[in-house]
């Protein structure tokens, strides 16, 4: 919302400085985004009178002008068609920077003619888009003086942000009213003197609604004004509109814009001669079309409020008028519309048709329903003053919607809810200054709400009003009382696991990324997703259109992008949401990671190798270990989803639950994603982890530690087994051979060159006696048990 200081002063009598007004506006919640003092900005640019204008000798479209600058004359070459002797324009001298273009002017020779400066267009002065000609100043503009004053531009312009609840401040008067209520000045009275109607309007207005939809337009005031002349509006009005960035069009258009900006009161003026019969306001029919003022043909539906004449729809109430019935320069007789349109219906209509108009903006935020008669009189007077003509009697149909109910308010709530001490008397004064009425019932008051404040609904809103007026700065800040002298831990186990996971993976050399929660449909399908319920109905792009089924696609794509930048041999991970369906239960929490290219940072001593499934298996296991799950109870199986390499991938299981998948990615998937480097990945599903950790029943104490004083013995065994024997089965068999003595079994070699379909698996077994030192015969007994167990479980035999 833009307005100028002098405009504000039409409504507010105040001695406050620009800075004080600005600060108060912000303190009231009318946040000042910017105050532009264009008088200061434009001061270097002076009024110049063109004394002489002759055609350029070497160019058809250029004019050579001699300009008078008040005691000094300059020659400038001008390309504008409207440059002519006798006019007054805006002169920019060499060395000055043109505000609209940012270019610094230089003395120049244009096609052989010296030019010492320029005459500027609106665009060059940063005043608008017009670049058809140079600015023409009023004939009384003082030559040699800064030009801004002669266009009313020496007036500081406020740009303030109005929150959606404050429809009352979408007119300068509303802003002045709020400032006055806060004590910054006095609100000046508004001239609402009625215009005497001398005849009965030939056009009647009918509100054709049934009781259920009557609130669409409950109140309509019209007036016929005959014999108007729609010329340009006077200077004061043009200047005001220009000062806030609007282009003057014609008096009738400018008047409605003025009413909107000045009073927050949208109005519409129909060309009465282009109407047929009476005005009827009703709900539109399905597919009813009309050509709107925004140069689009709009198609209405039964939910929209239509303003019609006897033949057709001519405007959508509160949203936009039509071209057929709009005023033109030839307009002689007009019909004025000042109405109240329902905020919700207006908003829905505007949104459905994508029409953003000043009227819609105000109606959907709520215009003052009690201000219709005054608004109609003020509009009538402006039309008659600026365009002449003769007014009919008002045509008043319906009535203002009932006022908002009173709010029960305890002044003590300013302290108990608002945290500020404001005396009861001050509360009363503040509310009354805001236009409220107060009926005192002892502890609580019945507060009547002014018609323009439809946003005030509950007691808390009145607390806010009081606080706004005393200023939020007057609320003392109080630290929250501490629930415990020493803060208690607050994170849940799942939250701690997420945190452990991130730091464990970062410690292993993976770099954490945060990527979009959505992927392309193609990527979703590659990773088992693409379920219809997870498609965005209104995605921002096809690349970001489906909720991700897995963390891998974005990470793999990122790996590809980084590899393309020459960053091969790295690892990324992400912790985040994955989606199986659109329910809350369908949202999982996972940590996924990828390693690509060569493993590790590379070293001159160690030849680099490609990443493989064991790298990412270690990552997945590290997550499980970081989360304190019983790693010894994990089962590893060779089944992973189809986006992994079928022979080089697996799953980590705890009982029936799949905790993780890991492995090299399927080459077909990488190909489809156009990633060239080899990629291995893992995904751990944190939300399926058991709800309790091992040992949680014991509290914080560790299990007791028993250290044996007897020498441990190491024995190595190599077994020949079939190729398809899983090493884990062999290790489990070894372990099972003596659950007391055997405390560690490590695979230290796998060799496949032992004959067709066979391989050798070598394990190192640590025997830890706890009662006595082991003797050779005892070791021999265990060794035999180990070989027997392996043979039974896997068919393996000791390698000779």
């Amino acid at each position: 919302m833009k307005f100028t200081l002098s405009w504000l002063r039409r409504h507010l009598k105040t001695d406050a400085s620009l800075a004080d007004i600005s600060e108060r506006l912000t303190a009231l919640g009318l946040k000042v985004e910017e105050v532009v003092d264009r008088g200061e900005l434009l001061a270097p640019f002076k009024v110049a009178e063109v004394i002489e204008a002759t055609p350029h000798p070497n160019a058809d479209k250029l004019t050579v002008c001699i300009v008078e600058l008040g005691g000094e004359r300059q020659q400038v070459v001008c390309g504008a068609a409207n440059a002519r002797a006798g006019m007054k324009g805006v002169f920019a001298a060499p060395g000055q920077t043109v505000p609209g273009t940012g270019a610094k002017l230089k003395r120049a020779s244009i096609r052989g003619v010296e030019s010492a400066g320029m005459l500027c267009s609106e665009r060059e002065m940063g005043l608008g888009d017009d670049h058809d000609g140079i600015i023409e100043l009023p004939t009384d503009a003082p030559v040699g003086e800064p030009f801004a004053a002669s266009l009313g531009l020496d007036d500081p312009v406020f740009d303030i942000a109005i929150t959606p609840d404050r429809g009352d401040c979408l007119g300068v008067r509303g802003i002045a009213r709020d400032l006055a209520a806060s004590g910054l000045g006095t609100l000046l009275p508004l001239d609402e003197t009625p215009v005497t109607g001398t005849f009965t309007s030939p056009i009647k207005v009918h509100l054709d609604f049934d009781t259920e939809t009557a609130d669409a337009c409950p109140y309509f005031i019209g007036r016929y004004i005959r014999g108007v002349t729609n010329g340009p509006s006077p200077g004061w009005l043009q200047e005001r509109l220009i000062s806030v960035g609007l282009r003057p069009i014609s008096a009738l258009v400018d008047i409605t814009n003025w009413l909107t900006l000045d009073l927050g009161r949208p109005a519409h003026v129909f060309d009465a001669d282009r109407l047929q019969g009476d005005l009827r306001v009703r709900l539109a029919h399905a597919s009813e079309c009309f050509a709107a003022l925004n140069e689009r043909v709009l198609e209405a539906d039964e939910s929209m409020t239509a303003v019609c004449d006897d033949r057709r729809l001519i405007a959508l109430g509160g949203v936009i008028g039509g071209t057929d019935t709009g005023r033109t320069e030839a307009t002689k007789n007009v019909f004025l519309e000042i109405a109240y349109f329902d905020p919700v219906r207006t908003a829905a209509t505007g949104r459905a048709l994508a029409v953003d108009s000043d009227a819609r903006y105000r109606f959907e935020r709520g215009v003052d329903p009690a201000f219709l008669p005054a608004g109609a009189e003020i509009a009538s007077r402006l039309i008659i003053d600026l365009c002449g003509g003769e007014a009919s009697e008002l045509v008043t149909v319906g009535a203002a919607p009932p006022p908002k109910p009173d709010i029960s308010f305890c002044p003590s709530r300013v302290a108990t809810l608002g945290g500020a001490e404001v005396s009861t008397e001050d509360c009363r004064k503040i509310l009354e200054r805001l236009g409220c009425t107060i009926e005192d019932n002892g502890d609580s008051w019945d507060v009547g709400i002014p018609s323009w404040r439809s946003d005030l609904e509950v007691e808390a809103d009145l607390v806010e009003e009081v606080l706004r007026m005393v200023g939020y700065d007057h609320i003392p800040a109080v630290s929250l009382p501490r629930p415990a002298a020493v803060a208690r831990p607050v994170l849940t186990l799942a939250q701690r696991r997420t945190s452990w996971t991130k730091r464990a993976l970062a410690a292993r050399g993976l770099v954490e990324a945060v990527t979009w929660s959505f992927v392309s449909e193609n990527h979703a399908q590659l990773f088992g997703g693409g379920n219809d319920s997870l498609h965005l109905a209104n995605p921002i792009s096809a690349e970001l259109s489906v909720m991700r089924p897995s963390l891998l696609p974005n990470l793999i794509a990122a790996a590809g992008r980084n590899a393309d930048r020459g960053l091969a041999g790295h690892a990324l991970f992400e912790t985040g949401q994955i989606f199986a369906d659109d329910t809350a239960a369908g949202q999982g929490l996972a940590v996924g990671g990828v390693r690509w290219g060569k493993h590790g940072p590379g070293h001159w001593l160690a030849p680099a190798r490609d990443v493989d499934g064991y790298d990412v298996k270690a990552d997945a296991e590290a997550v499980v270990a970081a989360c304190d799950l019983p790693a010894d109870r994990l089962k590893v199986t060779a089944d992973a989803p189809e986006w992994y390499h079928p022979g080089r991938s697996g799953a980590l299981r705890l009982g029936p639950k799949v905790l993780a998948h890991f492995g090299e990615l399927h080459p077909r998937v990488l190909d489809a994603m156009e990633v060239k480097a080899p990629v291995a990945g893992f995904e751990v599903f944190l939300n399926v982890f058991p709800a309790k950790n091992k040992g949680s029943a014991r509290g914080k104490a560790r299990p007791s530690l028993r250290l044996s004083p007897f020498q441990a013995v190491m024995r190595d065994f190599a077994f020949i087994v079939d190729n398809d024997v899983a090493s884990a089965d062999l290790v489990a068999a070894v372990r099972g051979a003596d659950k007391v003595l055997i405390d560690e079994v490590t695979v230290f070699d796998v060799y496949e060159g032992v004959g067709e379909g066979r391989k050798s698996i070598a394990v190192s077994v640590r025997l830890q006696p706890i009662q006595d030192t082991l003797t050779e015969p005892e070791i021999e007994v265990v060794s035999v048990r180990i070989t027997d167990a392996v043979e039974k479980a896997t068919g393996g035999v000791l390698r000779g």
Partner: protein, 359 residues
Amino acid sequence: MIMDDLETLGQRLLAEVGNAENLKALETTRVGALGKKGILTTRMKAIGAMDASLRRDAGAALNRLKSELAAAIEARAEDLRGAALDAQLRSERIDVTLPARRAPTGRVHPVSQVFDEIVAIFANMGFKVAEGPDIEDDFHNFTALNIPPEHPARQDHDTFYLRAPQGQARQLLRTHTSPVQVRTMKSQPPPVRIIAPGRTYRRDSDMTHTPMFHQVEGLVVDQTTHMGHLKGCLQDFVSAFFEVEVPVRFRPSYFPFTSPSAEMDIGCKRSRGSLTIGAGDDWLEILGCGMVHPNVLGHCGIDSERYQGFAFGVGIDRIAMLKYGIPDLRSFFDADLRWLRHYGFAALDVPTLHAGLAR
């Protein structure tokens, strides 16, 4: 005969030991003197044949020589071994300026780090961490928060909707973390003190907006918390977070789910394109807040006559950018390793209040 040249022999053998150039030569000398057939061994054997009167002195003299020689051999061997080790080590020199084996180092994303910082601060004030789904329904994201369908505030939200079968209500991606307020209040009776950090989504993409971003919601509900506590809590938070005294300013604002509502600005200083948080001549808006609207309490089944409290929402990415001088929001989600290494944090940099949040 045995004793004739014992002195000369001794001198010769000792000289040989002293001159032995390596362990092998020394061994030859040792065997030649003290071995089974060594000269001193042979002489020792011959003592038995000597006249008894001479035997004793001769034996003693021979034994002395043997001991002396053995000691000399051992000493010489020690010297030679030392010299050999020195020579070997001299030959085993490495170029210590060559790069060492490096353990790969990872990084934690600034969003995670700042999330941990925020949790550290609010946990100290007794806040728990609540969570909610990213895919929400209309009730939790809007209606329960006092935003009816045609409310102008809904249009500011640029909501992403999910496809819905004809006739079914469409799900949406939460546009703020505020639905977690609703879920929390519906699931637990007051008093409530929670923060709810998470991903949020708006259909917006330009220089300063991304379709996904992070927010942290705060909610306190009890019987006594008022707007002064809101100010105190957030003032305490920003100074703890930015690790300097940060002046704050509260301005009236509007959110459908709070009344009174406010926006909080923090003090800053701008000069030549750089922004410093703390005392300065300018203000920077960083969050919206207010007292929970009684309609919201009502929607959540809480008696608004008895209970009241405050709520706030802050952009995590935004305060991360402000604290760590990160210029571009969009770069947060690019997964560019160069960026992640530059702006990311070491695994062991777990923020704590006692040690300071950031290095």
